[in-house]
Symmetry: D2
């Protein structure tokens, strides 16, 4: 185990806070890292709850004041697991305090925010990474490696769908994810952001988009308020102010064309984050609901033996997989977070750039924003290029 | 076997002519029909070839003059299996001669043509049907029946892809399907038309669309000429004048939103005609590459036992299947043509309207045309309503 | 179309008679044969029914006397589609009359019968073929070709299951397939025979077996009598005298080991005729419920790109497929019969041996009989070698 | 978090030691337990290596003397993760020291050993559990629940395969798992034991068996010695003294019939631990390579909507899943160990019997031994009933 320590402060302790905590506890057990992460501090609004969380997960201290935690000398990395509307303020403050920043996706809600965040981390010279965790599935990292090696030639079609079904029931009550103030958007920024990031990672930059969005259930039973943002409910119901579904067409600058679809209204699709890429020499298909598999078709196989090859990406030769278990011993959701943590630690310990960085996060926001613009205008919109 | 006879004349004897001939030979063997189809005449350009075709398939006579054949008194049904650019002239002539018309898809290339064809068959009072054969897969007909019974509630998402790969190789030579004069369009009218028809059948009318198209390989080795239309080749290559891929977003008038993608550039996808429909109570998924299966998810199954149900639609209780084999004895491509022929014969014999009729074919052309218009304008386009 | 004619007489006109008739009608349309089969005569017990069958399917004449039909000078091939207990008598008579014999599986019920049949066709010098139709699925024929080329190395494991579910309901009434006199055995000879034939075709000879059988539902509602064999029913029910399920282990003479399971009691399995073969260099998997696919794994693929390759065996390069449709246009159950008819016609026209021949059919019976013997003795039994 | 502590001592620190350590670190984070496990001590042969392991995984102390560790007053549970040949001695000593015992599978090699172990834990009155971890996949636990509720009626067919491929290459070198002294048997006890345990859990007791085994590669490159047992290698190779594959038929005492196949020689099968159970009312299928899914067919679904239902067992309503992530957030291999640890802790904290206990482990060994006996005798063998 590494002698060098890397002290981490986690801001936020709900779903993502739990996932990040499990990653920090686990990463050093499986990976041989050049620095050992230390779970220094966790921060949240509710003093008793965050203290109990710290005790359960092994954080050394807990706090309700994120500015104080960021100011601690013994904190090296600030890990932001809070809802998206808080990301820019915390990240900029962390950068200004000279801390490396690990930020949940989406980076933020607007290109303007994103530019400010990017400027802050660049000015501070700190490491910055956005947690698009699906890049860290072994099968996805393998896809990237294969594409870079020319396995499927030049990509022509990119087909992304991210389907869930937790809002199908109109009686499912409101929560912060359905309020524009807290969540920015609905399926668009929550799910679509993942697809856009994978598309940029695997295919390249998107130049133009045209889209549409829909809110199928426009009012839901009220939940009250959450995250400090008031609800607009009356008579026991509350108006949904984000999209249930977001769909768009894309033209990649490299010549490929793409379709993107994100929804929370697809019965039976639990976390159906899927892509299919058709290139001039082959095809790659991946879906999170079978996360350990990558389907690959090559036009270079012998004529009568061509077929989709279902690769179980759990062998020692596959990215990340060697750190875990013997072949065929499947990985789950949380492994992607540990893999991300491993990459982050190694980049910091060896003074290398992280990927995806805040520029990636900002470019993703630019695509999301262009889709919104295309909807407002009823026509194709250019994607701003974030330098 | 029925006493009543129905004399069929087939125009065209290539791929579709073969498929239709097999259907006419087969349909009366498996189905108990109210009229027995008789393979009266087949018509094509090449006298010797069409004569040999007639002999092989059991057509009583052959001819090179389609107007003459249509004029024969003993012909009841004209079956048009020629390329799309000839459909309108033949169909209108057939109607004027008082013959029932069975026409391959797409009905024609323009809304103007479609209206003329529709007017002709209506004026003549003959039966008219377009051969969107995928409606005749038992699993697709079952989907229709289930949707009508409310199995998936109100449809919110329609996701259609029709992917093939036969043009991936840039050395694959030109043929008539890549020339605008003969084929009208590429993947758009060839594959997209099927998806649009299934969408109208299963979901409802499309009100607005926005799309894009792409020709990835713009020149191909010349083939010469075919179907009487001159090639534009020079120096051994010929310019491709149709799309390789066509993609569009759609707003259905009933509130659903849709994505459509047709391409001949998806390695490994041979005839991947697939749809997924997400409703307020469930999901249905079908793909021709597994044509005998229908996947069904219901939110009304018990909470811990919900899952996609893979229905093998080959039981006696399923549409069409009872006419064929015992359960589990799979059906193939040609069965869809026999099923269509059975429906056509029964409609004519019992003086009922056929489905899909020329109005359906015309409305499909209207959607295709609206997509073209949206591409020209770079923005959403309204779909003309064909009455 | 070929000038030479081959006159066929079909004995039996139920499920198999229908399948064979469709094959004879169809084969010359798709295949370029060296002789054209002519549907000369069909024979069955019920005069009116068989006459109607002849009219519907296009047989020139019908008869109730199979000996007379066999005696006709203008019959070249006798096609036996009757229940198994009649095969030996008809086949021997046909051979003695100098006719080529095409016989449904299983060849017969006992090794003694099989030897007599084999002696008769050899003495007569006629062609003889058993209709193990699953050999004629393009994907299965491709598997054979790949095995012969060494694609999976030396086979070590052979795993055969043939699962159906039509007897799950104890209220499903008796029919001849559940009576030992008419059917010989239950799942064992009906389904197991197919698996054994595929095993011999793909893997090699079986030397020793040990098995077990079970009848889960021992009495069923009576149906009366059928096929001239009296029922043993009393009080409205009848005793089932065959197995519902038959399972055995096998040692192949070439060193592989095998498991075989046939049942009619597997809910959801409609015609689940599946094999998996593990060799020293790869694996092949096929199942009739996805009949157009062959799954192939090769240890010779690059280490990080190994996976089961799902070959759609419908391309022109695949066995049989070129005679039918373009790539991806799926085949069904009946195509296997047409493919078999094509092979038979070509063997007769060109004076070549058929495969599988009566020796193959006999050796299959020998394996079935050895399993019975192993059950009687409660221990491993040797399989008799039929020369 | 619970006030009550439960001190654990782990014996063994290789593959299983790592899996158990991850479980002990993780279980209290996700589950609300009635006692908090404390990682007190770890024990292994190599002093430096085990000390480093303790530091990495968070064990308080390390030792090379397992007897000493077992004797520690502050140890409540002894967790045995060593190779099978050591289990009996350690477990009996632990029981005699009054410790609860958690033992990796297989419990031991012989029925005689198993009886001694069972007697020891019973005499000591301690809790005892065998780590058949696949029972702890949510999908498998769901299968158990469904079977108990009658979802598939009376089970008739049990079809178990456990296929791996890590020994396909004859150049793969020897290790302790291929030596009879250390491993007892090969695929039989390693993989077959898992299948037998799942069969007993889901179907019931096995009364009679008949089997066969095979070693396809009889000599391998020598590795030297390991686990203190001398190798028998000469000339750089070593004789393999266990089976590569083990196959048997089974008669369950409840009337079902079963097939079992375990092998390390199936190319492409990485950890293909699969079962299919056919009952009088339905079917259940599970495979570890898709561990989060359970396939379910019910004959009680409406006739035209029957199909295999693919349940993603990751919802809050499914066993164990509620403790982890939101729906669709897949679980992997290590989660099964955490789930087992949770069950063990709750049983100890609440003074309840564990399952599977040593009696279960012993009965599993009795089945393994009966298969060996059937092979020796070439005939069916009775399974001894362990009381």
């Amino acid at each position: 185990m590494a002698q060098k320590k890397l002290n981490v402060a986690l801001i936020g302790y709900k779903f993502m806070g739990k996932a990040h905590s499990q990653a920090w506890r686990t990463v050093g057990r499986f990976f041989d890292l050049d620095a050992e992460p230390v779970m220094k501090a966790v921060c949240g609004r509710d003093e008793a709850a965050v203290a109990e969380f710290a005790r359960r997960w092994g954080w050394e201290t807990s706090s309700t004041d994120w500015r104080e935690v960021i100011g601690q000398k013994d904190v090296d990395v600030v890990d932001i697991s809070t809802p998206g509307y808080t990301h820019d303020e915390i990240a900029i403050a962390a950068a200004e305090a000279g801390k490396h920043v690990f930020c949940e996706k989406p980076l933020c809600f607007t290109v303007a925010q994103a530019k400010a965040m990017l400027a802050a981390v660049r000015k501070a010279g700190v490491k910055h990474m956005v947690n698009f965790n699906y890049r860290r599935c072994p099968a996805v990292a393998l896809a990237k490696k294969m594409i870079d090696s020319g396995a499927i030639g030049q990509i022509r079609h990119a087909r992304f769908t991210y389907l869930q079904d937790w809002l199908v029931d109109p009686q499912f009550p409101m929560n912060w994810r359905m309020r524009a103030e807290a969540a920015g958007s609905g399926a668009h920024g929550d799910l679509g952001a993942h697809s856009i990031d994978l598309a940029r990672y695997l295919v390249g930059e998107i130049g133009e988009v045209v889209g549409m969005q829909k809110t199928f259930v426009t009012e839901r039973p009220a939940e009250g308020t959450s995250h400090g943002i008031s609800a607009t409910a009356g008579e026991g119901t509350e108006k949904v102010t984000v999209d249930d579904a977001s769909v768009f067409l894309a033209k990649f600058t490299g010549g490929a064309i793409g379709t993107f679809e994100a929804t929370r209204m697809a019965p039976g699709r639990k976390n159906f984050n899927r892509f299919e890429l058709n290139g001039s020499k082959g095809t790659l298909v991946w879906c999170f609901e079978d996360l350990n598999y990558l389907d690959y078709y090559s036009t270079e196989d012998p004529g009568d033996r061509q077929g989709f090859r279902r690769i179980i990406a759990t062998e020692g030769v596959h990215p990340y997989a060697g750190a875990w278990w013997p072949p065929g011993h499947m990985m789950g959701y949380d492994h992607t977070f540990s893999n991300a943590a491993a990459d982050l630690v190694q980049c910091i310990a060896n003074d290398k750039s992280c990927s995806p960085c805040f520029q990636d996060g900002a470019q993703c926001v630019a695509v999301l924003e262009a889709v919104d613009k295309s909807i407002d205008g009823g026509k194709w919109a250019q994607v701003e290029v974030i330098k």
